[in-house]
């Protein structure tokens, strides 16, 4: 038995404290969601699911949930198609303006979301589509595209170029070799990118506040409007549901796709 390692003990205590800081908000929300009264109290003086019932039956949230699903499904799927094309483009072709194009397409990571959202609102007003899903989907595709591109790009880098050369030597046309060789190997990266894009689109708030109208508002926008008017724990209940669902998705994604791979943290 080696002697007690103080350094290691202190390090892991620090890690535990930091993890507590990161998870405390989630814990508090889940506690608050079961609060029986309208006014929150710590520690809770009972358990109740009434706020969950209110959250899932509240018409604004039902509509917003449906809107969010439609927008996220369209935006992430379009971003998947476009992002895969962009990843193939930057990993396979050299052409004039490539650097500029890459900069523009990755700029939404740096450009503040409210700026992007406001820009699309003005653009939507110009085109007369402010009340539609179309303008929301356009803004979301732009915002989530860099994440899909990155995930697919990383998986493309791991493909042995000899496989495509072999396909070409055996007489496959470029399109056929893309379809039969490259695409199947890109699938894990595409799945990871699509998942990240879906979640980011569904939870996106700052830009959505600008591009959604009251009829097309997505869930985070509806939640924000609720917080401004009411203080009861309905928001805690819906937040708790979102936290639990997200955590489950993360656990499943980690099991089947590997979060470290999706997020491009590779260990040697």
């Amino acid at each position: 038995m080696s002697k007690f390692n103080w350094r290691s003990f202190l390090f892991w205590t620090l890690i535990a404290a930091l993890l507590l800081y990161m998870t405390l908000p989630a814990i508090v929300v889940i506690m608050a969601s079961f609060n029986p009264g309208e006014v929150l109290s710590f520690p809770p003086n009972g358990l109740s699911v009434r706020w969950y019932i209110k959250a899932v039956t509240y018409p604004d949230f039902q509509i917003a949930f449906k809107n969010g699903i439609i927008v996220a499904a369209l935006a992430s799927t379009l971003a998947l198609v476009f992002g895969s094309a962009v990843a193939l483009l930057v990993s396979r072709y050299y052409f004039t303006g490539r650097g500029l194009l890459e900069t523009i397409l990755s700029a939404p990571l740096i450009v503040p979301h409210f700026t992007t959202g406001f820009g699309f609102l003005l653009l939507g007003a110009h085109l007369g589509i402010t009340q539609t899903y179309l303008i929301i989907v356009m803004a979301h595709v732009v915002l989530v595209l860099p994440f899909v591109t990155r995930a697919v790009y990383v998986s493309l880098q791991n493909i042995d170029p000899n496989l495509e050369r072999a396909a070409a030597n055996l007489g496959a046309s470029p399109i056929k070799s893309l379809w039969r060789v490259t695409l199947p190997l890109m699938l894990p990266g595409m799945a990871g990118g699509w998942l990240v894009a879906t979640i980011l689109s569904f939870t996106e708030f700052s830009a959505s506040l600008y591009v959604t109208a009251s009829r097309t508002q997505t869930l985070p926008v509806a939640m924000y409007n609720y917080i401004r008017e009411y203080t009861d724990p309905t928001i805690a209940a819906i937040s708790a549901l979102l936290i639990v669902i997200t955590t489950l998705i993360m656990i499943v994604a980690n099991r089947f796709l590997g979060l470290r791979k999706i997020l491009a943290i590779e260990s040697h």
Partner: protein
């Protein structure tokens, strides 16, 4: 010939997305130079007046505050994320790695509103932090955390940490642990190994993390809006206020341009610094 078709097939989607994004940004630039007509969503002719208005203290301080909060958030996020990223990469226990990655990364995917709402429950005068501190007798009167800069930074740092951890973990995983072992075998203390080997080798990740979090925090909206409650104004809050309360779209556009330019200036400055620091490391 077919190669050319495939190339165009890949190029078109990229051009389409770039076109819409550039169009949206162009709209903002265009509006930022237009005259505001009170009571109307239509805008007047060309004017510099919107940019002159930035000089007013309320807007000027909102810009300064945005920079200051972004800087503080990036700094604390860096200090708090490094140990977590290090533990994530270097632990040999698989269950611990899984636990760390799930707990550290999930907050990124729950969205701005859920996380901000959670912090309002923690930070209020009747909130959990004050209740606990009072309960154990550490304080008599609640500490003001809501509507303060401290409260906003506490929440912003927690939002920033998942991204910081991802970037730092990537950098740390690229450091061959043999270097650390070699330094240790040569008699360096664990502290020396960390400061003289690990930190310099992960400097690119540290700088990248700092830059990304600065830019990311500059675009924060829900947190200063709900936790700052109008007492802490960032550029994002000014844009929202002038855009949707006063319906002054031209000035909201002007502040958006300021935010956009600020983000890119910070990025450029830090890139310059990065180049200098990396040169220094190379010389050592």
């Amino acid at each position: 010939m077919q190669n050319r078709v495939v190339f165009l097939l890949f190029l078109l989607p990229a051009l389409l997305v770039a076109f819409f994004f550039v169009s949206a940004l162009t709209e903002i630039f265009q509006y930022s130079f237009r005259e505001f007509i009170p009571g109307s969503l239509d805008v007047g002719g060309f004017t510099w007046a919107n940019f002159a208005r930035i000089n007013r203290p309320i807007y000027f301080f909102a810009i300064l505050d945005t920079f200051w909060l972004a800087f503080l958030t990036a700094l604390f996020a860096l200090l708090l994320s490094y140990p977590l990223a290090y533990a994530l990469v270097r632990t040999e226990r698989e269950w611990l790695r899984t636990l760390l990655i799930i707990l550290a990364i999930t907050p990124l995917f729950t969205g701005e509103i859920v996380r901000t709402y959670a912090w309002t429950l923690l930070l209020g005068t009747e909130g959990m932090i004050n209740t606990i501190l009072k309960g154990i007798g550490l304080i008599d009167t609640p500490i003001a955390l809501m509507y303060t800069r401290v409260g906003v930074v506490i929440a912003l740092v927690q939002f920033a940490m998942p991204v910081m951890i991802i970037l730092l973990a990537t950098a740390i995983s690229h450091v061959n642990s043999d270097y650390e072992k070699a330094a240790s075998n040569l008699g360096a203390s664990p502290g020396q190994v960390f400061w003289r080997v690990t930190v310099p080798l992960t400097m690119p990740g540290i700088i990248a993390g700092f830059i990304v979090i600065c830019a990311w925090t500059m675009s924060a909206f829900a947190t200063p809006q709900l936790i700052g409650g109008g007492k802490i104004l960032m550029i994002s809050n000014v844009v929202y206020l002038t855009g949707f309360s006063a319906l002054n779209f031209p000035f909201a556009a002007t502040m958006s341009v300021v935010a956009l330019v600020s983000a890119f200036v910070v990025l450029a400055l830090m890139k310059l610094m990065t180049a200098r620091i990396e040169n220094k490391i190379a010389i050592h």
